[in-house]
Subunit: 227 residues, 2 copies
């Protein structure tokens, strides 16, 4: 359990997947005795991959040191894989001993920052096999905790991961109160949320629709592995 | 199934609960052949109940007629219960034959708009018993479909409700593809998401923490019932 006032924050960026951020925000912004910082490279609003406007209120260079950093994913993660300002921000946070919570392809960004070496981790199912290129150990689970680094699978897995983090930081009672407030007793109307469970035609369609970005991510991963 | 280009939109407002909107947005903004409109009373950014900035891009008075309207909830819903501009916007949408999707206490707002008379519906567990004051029939379910009016329970129930709407509007295959993309195979770490399942001390704490706003909502509901 973490006893001080908790400084939490998330990096938001263009073409991210908004719910990788807004899902965990819903949980983490409710942690008792905490402040949540919404951070961008600049203060310009960013559009997520489906066009939603999100507005950072602090920049990477001005935000105070955080205890917990959330790194969301989405298509735009790929554009940050060589962004030294973002990568060194993540790296410094981990070196300082902060908690890191990476969701979906935000995990690849943390890999590019060099903080995933030897770390058991998960990410979006479509790119789980890319984790070893960054030195991470791929684990096909929805949430993986490893010391102060917690990773969540694709997109909505961030909500589950955030509840894990809430319990880790403030205890199970606090996490359960947030869960009840959020009425988080999910009932997906279909059983199509993982590649193992989705019908073949659904899996094929999503695999095909994400083939270009996945190919790009593979190239990037190979480049990192070659360094 | 709805065959035309779908004009969908959500009303956002101060002190809403952001994931009542961002959860369904994640699903509905991915519907094939659709446009999603983010609508405010003005174009000023609004802060959700935990401080997240969200920015409307069209106003109630200028947005085109929609096929699907999402009404999220949150503490700020209470401040709109006598807002004739918002209420008549919702009422006109329903009278025009549009689909209405209300999440959490957004359902109370639809009640205030007068469109819930005789409609089986759900809302956040904390205020489910207020629905009859608005003429609605309270149903203790996560998602309730009634013709073109779909309601979801508290907060995260909007994600499940949106997948129902996706299937209703674009068929099950499209809904399942979105679900797989979102990796929506939730695994809450605790079984604390409903008042029936949460431990007593958790239920008591959340009931106590929400007692002031619930009392206010009850007063409002009684005022409506008396009209």
């Amino acid at each position: 359990m973490f006893m001080d006032h908790l400084q939490a924050g998330a990096i938001i960026y263009p073409l991210m997947d908004q719910i990788d951020f807004t899902g965990p925000f819903e949980v983490l912004s409710r942690l008792p005795n905490s402040t949540f910082h919404v951070i961008g490279k600049t203060l310009e609003p960013v559009r997520d991959t489906r066009g939603l406007l999100l507005t950072p209120e602090e920049t990477l260079s001005e935000v105070q040191p955080l205890h917990l950093l959330l790194v969301p994913g989405g298509y735009g993660q790929e554009d940050l894989m060589e962004d030294q300002e973002v990568l060194s921000f993540i790296r410094s946070h981990v070196e300082r001993g902060g908690y890191l919570f990476a969701v979906c392809t935000g995990v690849l960004l943390c890999g590019a920052a060099g903080v995933m070496n030897g770390v058991p981790a998960t990410t979006h199912w479509r790119v789980l096999d890319l984790l070893p290129y960054f030195g991470a150990i791929a684990v096909n689970k929805r949430v993986v905790e490893h010391g102060r680094i917690v990773t969540a699978g694709g997109v909505t897995a961030g909500i589950d991961g955030a509840l894990h983090m809430a319990a880790m930081l403030r205890g199970e009672q606090a996490a359960k109160e947030i869960q009840l407030y959020m009425q988080y007793a999910p009932e997906p109307p279909f059983d199509s949320g993982t590649p193992e469970r989705a019908p073949a035609e659904v899996l094929n369609a999503v695999t095909e629709a994400t083939s270009a970005i996945t190919a790009r991510r593979l190239e990037t991963a190979k480049r990192f592995a070659a360094r």
